[in-house]
């Protein structure tokens, strides 16, 4: 039999963790040296599909698995050394970095493959040079920034000389400079003759060098063809009703004067001034690690500022106690798993008001659950929900205490646009919103957009009002 040109072939693949199927009847094949873009909104099964390709599903993670995944003429279900040819870079670098130093991280895979000393030295040096990590080889992993951690992971995977590389959202949560750098690296890997599959949900600058594009929606492949049309198909899926801007009131809700803060000797925030008006939507953006989240934490007094004053409703922040601040400012953090403390959805939403000795009426609760599309799941355990649902639940449980100011940290992450715009519409005009985000699509909703740079905030002008 002549050697087949198909490197990966998937036949009638379906998979489910529990009752609800995540992948349904997927068929496609990938040729050698092809670069493929896998598009789809969050929660559509991209990560699960990538895991199926690597053979981790069904070999390590259990579930109902049907169909066949064939890589290089071998079935992943029976052939367990498939990892020799296939590398995967997951979304969160924090959990993937296994050792404590950069050099040991780069060498880890090679050590497992039983390379000897000289070979490893040679390869590590080569890849450190290629990825610009040569000066940082002796660093502790915890001292690296988020983007650098991602680079380390990609370098470690590339050093293992695998034929196929899978990337799960390699560009999420990165600033534009870092995005370009990592794209450049991916391009280099492609030119070396590797087969690349990249899963993304925001293909803003990605389209440049891909040969083909697959669009996933609700566990099915909807489109398989060239990139340009694929983007259009995705746009149709993600198109959501527009959210309109509303002119804010003139009364000032929060006034920040000359705020500074730092963890070590040096200040991260250096003199920030801001006046937040009632019912205004403010977006704060900026590079990774520039202090956006730190600023937000200072705003609700969770971190004690070093200098400066904050006035909340005309009263100094120091005169409130922590509970009174929590009643007025609601803060939604990024990771939903950390914000869930109770055993079912209704209890979770109710526990916020309970802290302030209030209770939600049944009607209010129903309304709230319906705006957040959680009514059907009101008796579920919060941890059994999907990522998007969990994020919606965290926003719901904050808004149930009815705070005047809402601070949202990366609200669009893991959220599909339809639900998110519905939530935004229910807030705009009633609450003051401060959003911290990289998403440029959210700038359209904002009254003012600020960029953080070198510890200061600069207002930037953006497109016309919608």
């Amino acid at each position: 039999m002549p050697k087949v040109s198909k490197l990966i072939e998937i036949r009638n693949l379906s998979f489910s963790y529990s009752r609800e199927p995540i992948l349904r009847d997927i068929n496609f094949s990938i040729k050698q040296k092809e670069a493929i873009l896998l598009l789809g909104i969050s929660g559509c099964g991209k990560t699960t599909l990538l895991r199926c390709l690597t053979g981790i599903i069904p070999n390590t993670i259990e579930g109902k698995f049907k169909g066949k995944v064939i890589v290089d003429d071998k079935d992943t279900k029976t052939f367990d050394k498939i990892q020799n040819e296939m590398g995967i870079v997951l979304q969160d670098p924090e959990t993937q970095i296994i050792t404590t130093k950069v050099w040991s991280e780069l060498a880890f895979g090679l050590e497992n493959l039983c390379y000897n000393q000289e070979e490893i030295s040679k390869i590590v040096k080569k890849f450190a040079k290629k990825f610009g990590l040569l000066k940082k080889l002796n660093y502790d992993v915890k001292n690296l920034s988020y983007g650098e951690k991602k680079k380390v992971i990609i370098a470690a995977m590339a050093a293992m000389n695998k034929k196929i590389l899978l990337f799960d959202e390699p560009l999420s949560n990165l600033d534009i400079g870092m995005k370009k750098e990592i794209l450049e690296l991916l391009k280099k890997l492609k030119e070396e003759g590797k087969t690349i599959i990249v899963a993304e949900q925001n293909p803003c600058i990605l389209k440049l060098f891909f040969d083909r594009c697959l669009v996933l929606a609700k566990g099915r492949i909807v489109y398989n063809g060239n990139v340009k049309q694929g983007l259009e198909v995705l746009r149709k899926i993600t198109e959501h009703p527009r959210v309109s801007r509303i002119k804010p009131n003139e009364d000032v809700v929060m006034e920040i004067e000359n705020l500074s803060f730092g963890y070590g000797k040096e200040n991260i925030l250096k003199g920030i001034d801001l006046k937040v008006r009632k019912n205004e939507v403010i977006v704060i953006t900026g590079e990774n690690g520039c202090g956006k989240t730190t600023l937000a934490l200072c705003l609700c007094d969770l971190l004690k500022r070093r200098k400066g004053e904050i006035r909340l409703f005309g009263k100094l922040m120091d005169k409130y106690n922590s509970r009174e601040i929590a009643e007025r400012i609601g803060f939604v953090f990024q990771n939903p798993n950390f914000q869930i403390f109770k055993n079912n959805v209704v209890e979770e939403i109710n526990c916020g008001p309970k802290n302030f000795e209030r209770m939600l009426k049944k009607k209010e609760m129903k309304e709230l659950l319906e705006t957040f599309d959680l009514y059907g799941k009101r008796k579920f355990h919060p941890f059994s929900l999907s990522l998007g649902e969990k994020r919606r639940l965290t926003i719901a449980s904050i808004s149930s205490t009815n705070p005047d100011i809402l601070i949202l940290d990366e609200p669009a992450f893991g959220q599909d646009p339809y639900h998110f715009s519905k939530i935004l519409r229910s807030f705009i005009g009633k609450k003051t919103i401060i959003m911290i985000t990289h998403e440029e699509s959210l700038f359209k909703v904002a009254n003012r957009v600020f960029r953080m740079k070198d510890g200061k905030m600069v207002e930037i002008k953006c497109g016309k009002a919608m």
Partner: protein
């Protein structure tokens, strides 16, 4: 490899001496030599001393008081000196070994899949420590209060454990995925790379 053997050979006698010696001046000498050894093995002396003081300053008075309650003051002083010398030698000995080094040394005795637990736990303790700090902030932001009697305090701490636990279960799935992608455990043996640090610096 010889360097880690030298470390073991230097520290094991010191620890044994700290256990059995009865002379006050010799005990002081033991702890001083362990500090000298840290300098000799190129470790940051200042950081070690600071973290030692952080542990010893609150514990020494406590030990003195507790011990003198049960016996006389003299034995209390001797016991605390013994205790502090022991912690100093053990602490310095452990701080001289890098994570990778311990991994390699342990794999000489146990299969490497077991000794790998050390590397994993040290790395993920850091992650979990960060997580707990973040959860505390979140609880504060949502108006949870840790005041009240002891039972309520313990209850609120248990509520804190649940998200940490669940999140690390989710993380475990990712970690297995990452480990499999790096071919961990594919072969029965494994090599250990020592970087030539001249190039790195």
């Amino acid at each position: 490899m010889w360097k880690s053997y030298v470390k073991i050979i230097c520290f094991v006698p010191l620890i044994i001496l700290a256990f059995i010696m009865n002379d006050f001046f010799l005990l002081i000498l033991v702890s001083l030599t362990s500090f000298v050894l840290i300098k000799f093995f190129d470790k940051d002396l200042r950081q070690v001393v600071i973290s030692l003081l952080k542990f010893l300053v609150p514990t020494i008075p406590l030990l003195l008081i507790m011990w003198s309650l049960f016996s006389n003051f003299e034995t209390a002083i001797i016991a605390t000196i013994r205790f502090s010398v022991l912690t100093i030698t053990l602490f310095t000995a452990f701080s001289c070994f890098e994570v990778q080094e311990t991994f390699e040394l342990m794999s000489k005795i146990f299969p490497y899949k077991f000794s790998f637990i050390i590397v994993l736990s040290i790395r993920y303790l850091e992650v979990i420590k960060d997580d707990i700090g973040r959860i505390n902030l979140i609880r504060k932001a949502r108006g949870f209060e840790d005041k009240g009697n002891i039972i309520r305090k313990i209850k609120s701490k248990i509520e804190l454990i649940v998200p940490v636990f669940v999140d690390s279960l989710f993380k475990a799935e990712d970690v297995t995925c990452a480990l499999e992608a790096r071919c961990f455990g594919m072969y029965k043996k494994r090599t250990f790379w020592k970087p030539d640090f001249e190039v790195i610096k």
